[in-house]
Amino acid sequence: MSSSSYYVPEQSRWPILASVALFLLAYGAGTLLNALSAEQGGGLGLVLLLAGALMMGLILVGWFGNVIHESRGGLYSAQMDRSFRWGMSWFIFSEVMFFAAFFGALFYVRVLAVPWLGGEGDKGVSQMLWPDFVAQWPLMITPDAERFPGPAAVISPWHIPLLNTCLLVTSSFTLTLAHKALLRDARMQVRRWLFVTIVLGVVFIGFQAYEYAEAYHELGLTLQAGVYGATFFILTGFHGLHVTLGTLMLMIILGRIVVGHFDSRQHFGFEAVAWYWHFVDVVWIGLFLFVYVL
């Protein structure tokens, strides 16, 4: 039985402010997209979206700042620590399921939908719509090539993607080295390995951006290039966003290390970000295999 009582925070302004910010983000994004699709200027939507984003950024700083302050004030018990651990684990599980939806879409399209369009199986009746369509993967020629002009070529897995795989896998190792160093209270080494991890993350994002530019400008591999482009960009795009977020979080952790936060016993903030980074790494392995190689 834990004798110290569980910390229940006093009233807080952050949740209601964050709800307003989320509303601005969502409403702004909706207004902006609708205006763009109707080919009107996106003035109001863009303003709301940016206001929401700015507000959310400030709130996150304030809210996490609050939590850090309480944590360093010694208000958190071991039980509280377990609540955070459960919270982060289940959050990562929800992220896994988010990616699962897109992987599921990819498998369904590759294994069932495209072959059926090509006339295979019981559902070969779809052949009546586009009799000349031949099923293939990567889908270079779509059934309706006027609306969805297929790509001229797709990204080769053995250049940038392979390099990126090495970068991310290495970054998981360097992050673990940082963690081991933190457990020994070797703070200079923590800084060094964290820094290396961040650099690897940034280089990864840079390569991804370069690859996207190449896809768009040289290969004709775009969002509009049929379902290969759609699955390619949604999977790699959301992964890229997660790497970006993870890198930002690593930078914040490095900053906190520099100002003297965390010690060998208490460093859940560090661990949470490390879990997140490893998760992003594992998703990449799945992407490399199923989007690029196979």
Binding site: S94, A101, I234
Partner: protein, 533 residues
């Protein structure tokens, strides 16, 4: 009792009351405040969605088009479904969990109280955005609550974009709420409360929360693909680019089927608390209840395509999903038999919560059986998209989920308000609801089997009589809910004083603390009462 009183007053600092004014509700971190807000919000949404249902029923009172335009009719069916599912049923269960889970397990509050407040406050904003689509150019979403592509992509009104972001917000709220409930139940139980001593309401919510975290992100994924198709020219759901509209249905129902268990498992939990109380017997087969709930949750991931039997999936798929669906009847049957066995030779009384619980057992079982009929693929070809489906899911949702929520509210109101309910008014509400619900939905079985399609504002003459009966029932049911509102308000304002153990046969930690429950309970973990040791 005395040990509890002393622990309650151990720390004076923890014992200040609620803050004054609006700030109490906007900034609160108290699970009881947040629970109340969830419950009031869901009641409001219940009435909003209910008005939409009555508009639908008014139009269907007679064949022909009389009151509303077909386009608006479609908006009403869509919004009614969305508001009832995401605005009424789900928040009501979260509200009950907020109020009861910490008190049932002896925790001082939810594990992450600030996030708890955020989970709630996202909802009013999300629904403001969803409901505002009614006033937009092109009207509100009109493609049904299942928003199948391409109705919801190629042919959707512009407001679909706001609908997508509203769904995202609801998803964020649900996921955070679910994380909080899991962390609370796994981490904050009083010493000695092992998992197999957990009250069944907590068990069912634990499993529900797992389902929420597993499938709300999938819903987010599918609306994101819609957004991309609408605004960025992708072809996930467009066969012209190699995609498939059926892909939408697969991803949607991979979310959608666990979602229907999200709306019923907490109901099972509530009923499993109430029946033992009024039968004055322990719940029969506690362990089997836990395992049955878990098996239903696992199976819910393997049956999604039974919503899609007529879309043209391969024969092997039809067979797999048919048999997997029928398997669910086994754990569900275990539950129904356990409830009946709990009542067997019990010393039963029939107060309002018990009446709702009994009606739940009977009417939910009817809904379950019509579900079994729908599960049989060859006959589903006949039933698909008819009023038989409407009858089925309204039987599991209205006298199922909604009745369980009302049973739970009546059961725990004395604990929340400190006042007993006026039993006469409670019974009046029950009988009018019970009769109204059956008059509304039972005839829908017949017109469905006779071939009346759902989501159509007009119908052939042979369906006229039963539609008129259903509409009369709907207004009876709808108006009786005003008695529910009256009862709740009356109970908040006054009434016979409730004891700590408001119901004679009630067991559990929540009945060991005074009624109304103090603003802060269990600042330090309590000793378990005799019955739980």
């Amino acid at each position: 009792m005395s040990t509890l009183d002393t622990t309650l007053h151990a720390d004076a600092h923890e014992h200040h009351g609620p803050a004054k004014g609006m700030g109490r509700w906007l900034f609160t971190t108290n699970h009881k405040d947040i629970g109340s807000m969830y419950l009031w919000f869901s009641l409001l949404m219940f009435f909003v969605g209910g008005c939409m249902a009555l508009m639908i029923r008014a139009e269907l009172f007679q064949p022909g088009l009389q009151l509303i335009e077909p386009g608006f009719f479609n908006q009403m069916t869509t919004m009614h479904g969305l508001i009832m599912v995401f605005g009424a049923v789900m928040p009501a269960f979260v509200g009950l969990a907020n109020w009861m889970v910490p008190m049932m397990i002896g925790a001082p509050d939810m594990a992450l109280p600030r996030m708890n407040n955020w989970s709630f406050w996202i909802l009013p904003f999300a629904f403001a955005m969803l409901i505002s689509t009614l006033f937009m150019e092109g009207g509100a979403p009109n493609f049904g609550w299942t928003f199948y592509a391409p109705l919801s992509t190629t042919y959707a009104p512009p407001s679909v974009t706001y609908f997508i972001f509203a769904i995202h917000m609801m998803g964020i709220s649900s996921i955070m709420g679910a994380i909080n409930i899991i962390a609370t139940i796994l981490n904050m139980r009083a010493p000695g409360m092992t998992m197999m001593k957990l009250p069944l309401f907590c068990w069912t919510w634990l499993i529900t929360a797992f389902l929420l975290i597993a499938v709300m992100p999938v819903l987010a994924g599918v609306v994101t693909m819609m957004l991309m198709d609408i605004h960025f020219g992708t072809s996930f759901f467009d066969a012209g680019g190699g995609g498939d509209p059926v892909l939408f249905q697969h991803v949607f129902w991979f979310f959608g089927h666990p979602e229907v268990y999200i709306m019923i498992l907490p109901a099972f939990g509530i009923i499993s608390q109430i029946i033992p109380t009024f039968a004055r017997k322990r719940l029969f087969g506690y362990a089997s209840m836990v395992y049955a709930t878990a098996s239903i949750a696992v199976l819910s991931f393997l049956v999604w395509a039974h919503h899609m039997f007529t879309v043209g999936i391969p024969l092997a798929g039809e067979l797999f999903f048919m048999y997997a669906t029928m398997l669910i009847a086994v754990p569900t049957g275990v539950k129904v038999f356990n409830w009946v066995a709990t009542m067997f030779r019990g010393s039963m009384t029939f107060e309002t919560p018990m009446l709702f619980a009994l009606a739940f057992v009977v009417l939910f079982t009817i809904g379950g059986f019509s579900g079994l009929m729908l599960a049989i693929a060859p006959v589903d070809f006949q039933y698909h998209d008819t009023y038989f489906v409407v009858a089925h899911f309204h039987y599991v949702l209205v006298p199922g989920a909604i009745f369980s929520i009302m049973a739970g509210v009546y059961y725990w109101l004395p604990k929340w308000t400190g006042h007993m309910l006026d039993e006469r008014m409670g019974k009046l509400h029950f009988w009018l609801s019970f009769i109204g619900v059956n008059i509304t939905f039972f005839p829908m079985h017949f017109i469905g089997l006779a071939g009346m399609p759902r989501r159509i504002p007009d119908y052939a003459l042979q369906f006229a009589d039963f539609n008129m009966v259903a509409s009369i029932g709907a207004f009876l049911f709808g108006l009786s809910q005003l008695i529910f509102l009256w009862n709740v308000i009356a109970c908040v304002r006054g009434g016979r004083k409730a004891e700590a153990r408001a119901w004679e046969g009630a067991e559990g930690l929540e009945w060991e603390i005074p009624s109304p429950a103090p603003y802060h309970t269990f600042a330090t973990p309590p000793q378990l009462p005799e019955s739980l040791r």
